[in-house]
Symmetry: C2
Subunit: 163 residues, 2 copies
């Protein structure tokens, strides 16, 4: 069973290359980007400026294939794929929560973005603390290392070698 | 440009009908469900039990079409679609953060689920406070009403009439 999606816009960021890119918004706190939604969807952005944060869902369009066990950036041993945020997944959908700086027509100016330039955008949702902030009792293999995400940079391990 | 995804499993919940379903996990705190991932992906669930919460991305497979301005459950006036969590969207991808109770092979037992029974699952990601908990300064039109999501129930407004 196949599900067909189409981008609703493009995420513009300073990162043309995976090498050196932050691995999470937590490491890209001051990095600015622009979301450009296709003009046919502009009206759907109304009221979004009222929120300080939004959830972006996007297509990891440079990722090919996947492995069920992967060594994440923040660990040295292999972990089950779905316990990681690795971009090579059966459905390569990325999720980042970013801050809104402002909006002009079909462009949203954002801060704290950690994706490649020209990433295809699939959806925008408002970040709502009542829905999206959870008091966790455990963070698994990331318990000790999640704070390292602030300084950790990406490499090309999650792009399948194509030749 | 079309992007092809396929479900990686199914979300089983007590809700066979939209009417009376909680509109957010915040209103379904004690509702239990089972995620059944197709066996070919079972190994990818390793290490997930270490996390208390996971992010589910799924396909709103009962939603047809979309409007750019919608009246959300928690409001009485029309809002821009992307400032809402309405299921009728250009790419009908749903997002819920739920609690893990346990795992048995390819099944994950969860709590706090607010989706229809047999919803096709697209992805599972670990919920990581460092990445996913944000201190917001504004929650837009939901500022006053997000707490009402605890008691608000769904109706069929977001299923397009098909006849």
């Amino acid at each position: 069973m196949s599900i067909d999606f189409s981008p609703i816009g493009t995420i513009h960021t300073p990162f043309d290359d995976l090498k050196g890119m932050p691995i999470q918004p937590s490491g890209a706190k001051d990095v600015k980007g622009i979301i450009e939604v296709f003009q046919e969807y502009e009206q759907g952005l109304n009221d979004l400026e009222g929120f300080s944060h939004i959830i972006l869902l996007y297509h990891f369009n440079k990722s090919r294939g996947f492995d069920l066990m992967v060594t994440p950036f923040l660990d040295t041993q292999k972990r089950g794929l779905f316990s990681t945020r690795a971009p090579r997944r059966p459905n390569p959908i990325g999720l980042s929560i970013v801050e809104i700086l402002g909006r002009e027509k079909n462009k949203i100016f954002i801060k704290g973005i950690d994706v490649l330039n020209k990433t295809p955008l699939l959806d925008i949702k408002p970040y709502v603390p009542r829905f999206d902030t959870k008091e966790v009792s455990a963070s698994g293999w990331l318990e000790q290392t999640q704070d390292d995400s602030v300084s950790m940079k990406s490499d090309d391990r999650f792009i399948e070698k194509q030749s």
